[in-house]
């Protein structure tokens, strides 16, 4: 295998996992830009969607096995519901008290959800059936796994749908208006309660979709959300917290950065390299890559 082929494969692998980071980062940035709050239990929304989709896909006594598309819808719906629940029960009451209370409350929620999942689905986790073709394909000397392409493709498609929703629909425009200026939007008759709830629901759906997409590739476990959600948060901050294109760029960049440092430098120091590069980027761009220099404090 040539060196160039290896680098190309490293980059492709990085983009594949990075597109999932992007989805989770989008969820974080969307919530921040619209509602000015962070859901630190995002990983558990991700996990709950994966478990729900799995349960619906396999079926049981109450419900026969459903096709993949239906299970995705069910998982995404549960993710939206759970995100809204966390927002109404924890994030909104604590938002006024301060950021620290939001963090502590969300961490409480994430412990609660993880351990509830252990009680419901067991601690070992479950195998998600293969829904995408997994046998590798050779494209001009480069080995590509169709599953990764599917994950990347669906992620990008979801981002495109989000973009169209935000820019072309009335609701999306209302959400953007409320994100830019809450009181002015209110004067225009846009209820920020509605846009807040909508923002949370859409963002949680994205996180849920990410969870379901990764499930066939990984294993479904109660802890599956922890790492991905922190990577998603990192990607969002890197791109400029609250900046929608920034979240996409941040996610892809983080995926590629991790893969290249593991593949070309050292897998032992992969995380340390990623951390150092991130701190260095924030030194030069304190508001993240696409974050505004003089923008509001995040």
């Amino acid at each position: 295998m040539s060196y160039t082929a290896m680098v190309v494969e490293l980059i492709i692998g990085g983009l594949a996992i990075g597109s999932v980071y992007s989805l989770v980062a989008l969820a974080h940035s969307l919530i921040w830009s619209g509602v000015r709050v962070v859901n630190f239990a995002q990983g558990e929304v991700f996990m709950a969607a994966a478990f729900t989709a799995l349960t619906v896909l396999i079926g049981g006594r109450l419900l026969p096995a459903q096709p993949f598309a239906i299970s995705v819808l069910a998982g995404v719906a549960v993710a939206s519901f759970l995100g809204l629940l966390i927002y109404l029960a924890i994030m909104r009451p604590t938002q006024k008290k301060g950021f620290l209370y939001v963090i502590a409350g969300c961490v409480g929620a994430s412990i609660l959800l993880q351990n509830s999942a252990i009680l419901i689905w067991g601690s070992t986790g479950k195998q998600f059936p293969a829904v995408f073709p997994m046998a590798p394909v050779k494209l001009g000397g480069i080995l590509v796994v169709p599953q990764d392409m599917w994950i990347m493709g669906i992620s990008l498609a979801a981002m495109a749908v989000l973009y169209l929703f935000l820019s072309k629909t009335r609701l999306g425009t209302a959400m953007r208006a409320a994100a830019q200026n809450r009181s002015a939007a209110g004067l225009m008759g846009i209820s920020h309660r509605l846009t807040d709830a909508l923002t949370i629901a859409v963002a949680s759906a994205l996180a849920g979709l990410a969870g379901i997409l990764l499930s066939p590739k990984f294993y479904v476990t109660p802890q599956m959300g922890t790492i991905i959600s922190s990577k998603g948060f990192t990607a969002a901050v890197l791109g400029g917290f609250g900046n929608i294109p920034g979240a996409v760029v941040g996610g892809l960049l983080l995926g590629v950065l991790e893969n290249l440092s593991a593949g070309l430098v050292s897998s032992a120091y992969k995380d340390a390299i990623a951390f150092v590069v991130m701190i260095a980027i924030l030194m030069f761009r304190p508001g993240g890559l696409l974050g505004s220099r003089g923008g509001r404090q995040a």
Binding site: A16, Q114, G122
Partner: protein, 380 residues
């Protein structure tokens, strides 16, 4: 609502919580029972380990009690949760020793809590049947510790010996997690290979929690190994094998206990076919003792036991045998009896050396048609 009323409401909630705690009935043990404590993570990230250990131990306690118990008394198991955190493990160990008055303790399943528990059992003079596999556990000059799983050196030396001597592989790669088990195991493999004047052709690792190993596997692929040893949590090893085959890595897979589990094979999705493993406990071991344990365990819990369940089961039997031999539950006498005991358990033959290491030999197996097949020990 005024601030004060809110404050009172909060106070009320705190008080209600405390009352709820007080109302939860404390488990009272009948007099004349022999209490054994079991420490493991039972909630949180490593809750699975505690569940396996407890299920194995519970089965042994039931069997022993059904046959009349030990020295005319019933055994009773007191489960405590360490969450795999050393300070918590020390807390529950103290609770077991000084509040529950247990005669012996089994656990924890992870090594760092065990290492933190060692000074406490030395002071309290209570035997500890440790389920962590770090070789350091039995190197602390502590006469009260008994390691009931093969330590990482024993396990991975045996595996490396098998791969080099029996399979005649020269190009061996290691992929492991950056935690106790993975780093210790990889180190044992490298140390053994050096005695044969061999070096691993690739030594890659992942951060615990990572599930995408593509970059590490690309480097391994470039090194073209004949065999790839995987060391880490069960799910992760399975995912690594699946991803390796997707990347067209053709090396022979190999690993230690756990890699032959249904969990790993399920996560590997067919990629585990043909893998070679070395383990103390193998559920397909034709030994009738093992088969009877596997059958009973599967009937009771609905899944096959793994080595954590087996070590929970063996630990209780070891303690029961030692008490019978000592004709006493006195910790000192039990510890002495354990030292001189030879016991055929489901993990193999236990014979504790002066350091407290109990298992010294490994079984080998191979995955054929998706199920572990046991190599006849006479062949090795």
């Amino acid at each position: 609502m005024s601030k004060q009323w809110k404050g009172l409401l909060g106070l009320g909630i705190v008080a209600a919580l405390l009352v709820a705690v007080a109302l939860v009935p404390a488990l009272t043990m009948a007099a004349g029972e022999i209490k054994i404590g079991a420490v493991a993570a039972r909630t949180g990230d490593n809750a699975a380990l505690g569940e396996w250990q407890a299920n194995g131990a519970k089965l042994a306690v039931e069997e022993i009690n059904a046959k009349g118990g030990v020295l005319g008394k019933k055994l009773s198991l007191v489960l405590e949760d360490s969450q795999g955190v050393p300070a918590q493990a020390v807390a529950v160990l103290n609770k077991l020793i000084y509040r529950e008055n247990v005669v012996a303790v089994i656990g924890d399943c992870q090594s760092s809590p065990v290492l933190a528990m060692l000074p406490v059992i030395k002071t309290a003079k209570i035997p500890l049947l440790a389920h962590g596999t770090n070789p350091n556990i039995t190197k602390q000059d502590n006469p009260w510790v008994f390691q009931t799983r093969a330590n990482d050196n024993v396990k991975f030396e045996a595996l490396a010996r098998f791969l080099t001597e029996k399979m005649h592989y020269k190009k061996i790669a290691v992929l492991h997690d950056a935690a106790d088990y993975g780093m210790g195991g990889a180190n044992a493999v490298k140390t053994y290979l050096r005695t044969k004047n061999l070096e691993v052709v690739a030594d890659e690792q992942w951060t615990p929690g990572d599930k995408d190993f593509s970059s590490q596997l690309l480097k391994i692929k470039k090194a073209e190994p004949e065999a790839l040893i995987l060391i880490g949590p069960m799910v992760d090893m399975g995912l690594a094998m699946k991803q390796a085959r997707q990347m067209d890595i053709k090396a022979q897979f190999a690993g230690g206990a756990g890699i032959e589990s249904d969990t790993t094979l399920g996560a590997a999705g067919g990629a585990g076919e043909g893998l070679i493993f070395a383990a103390g406990f193998i559920s397909s071991n034709p030994d009738p003792k093992v088969q009877s344990f596997v059958k009973k365990f599967e009937q009771k819990y609905g899944y096959k036991p793994n080595d954590f369940a087996a070590t929970g089961y063996d630990s209780i039997y070891l303690l029961a045998k030692a008490m019978e031999k000592a004709k006493s539950t006195n910790p000192d006498a039990v510890a002495k009896a354990l030292k001189s005991l030879k016991y055929e358990g489901v993990e193999g033959t236990f014979q504790f050396n002066s350091e407290g290491q109990g298992l010294h030999e490994m079984f080998y197996g191979k995955i054929v048609n998706g199920a572990p097949v046991f190599f006849d020990p006479s062949q090795k």
